[in-house]
Subunit: 140 residues, 2 copies
DNA sequence: TGTAAATATTTCGAATTCGAAATATAATTA
DNA sequence: TAATTATATTTCGAATTCGAAATATTTACA
């Protein structure tokens, strides 16, 4: 049997899921990186740039660009931290929060609609396997 | 429980796996898209551009660029098809094939080293779940 | 305290990626 | 056979992404 089948189906599943998400949030003029930042802030109130980077998959060199766009669009604000002058604190604007109040539940439902092809046990098992792979591919 | 956990761990697993693969093949001056094309041709001898597109995850608008780079690097050749003048046939050069003879086994082993944290049953179950998700996210 | 190492963030330049529209040829059908 | 539709591929312009190096500030420690 093909030894690479697992990675093939993983890449394909990721790609089609990612595209579904991308198309969904593109309706609101956002890309995946931007949405990731908004989502992190939606749950955490305030986060430093580093705090966001630790939560999402965007590398720091791209993050400045993503954040700048979100600031320009008026969805987040960025203030230098008093404690640590290297650091900048991000939070949603009122507009950003209102938008997320609308988008986030739709986004969640959209994903659930896709994932619900799996029954509960399958989904749990999938999570476990993926966590293992995630860890395994880091130590390399 | 967090309803989005599955997508989170899927995205993370993909990302770290993809990075492991990317770093690996970057040693040979290739990126993931390029490697995907070479891999398709390595197994199939000859393929049209469309044939390659159907096998990999790169959209056609990007494919021209990827193929052009591979031609310039001397790893593949591209000839207009006699049968169908719209179509172009791709195949590995001798150099391309020799390189893949070296890279491909290493690439495969690299991935197996990561995936072998899973036992056989886990891996099969993972494949099944991912295939379901792949299909499920297409019809949207 | 002064200097070195660590951390947070940005800048830079270049490569890659994308969707939409354009081009060229082939297949279909009226 | 002419006109229409379908298919294969490329072009275009713009946005995004990346790693590496630079900057600024803080922390460690000699």
């Amino acid at each position: 049997m093909n030894e690479l089948k697992t990675i093939t189906v993983l890449f394909r599943a990721y790609n089609s899921l990612e595209k579904a998400v991308r198309d969904d949030i593109a309706k609101y003029g956002l890309n995946t990186s931007e949405f990731g930042v908004l989502e992190a802030l939606y749950h955490k109130e305030k986060l430093s740039v580093k705090g966001v980077i630790d939560k999402v998959l965007t590398p720091n060199s791209s993050m400045s660009y993503v954040i700048e766009n979100l600031v320009n669009k008026g969805y987040i604000i960025k203030n230098q931290s008093e404690k640590d002058k290297r650091s900048f604190v991000l939070e949603l604007t009122q507009m950003g929060r209102k938008m997320m109040d609308v988008i986030f539940p739709l986004h969640k439902q959209n994903i659930r609609d896709i994932l619900n092809v799996l029954d509960k046990e399958e989904e749990i098992a999938l999570q476990k396997a993926l966590v293992k792979i995630g860890k395994s591919s880091l130590r390399k």
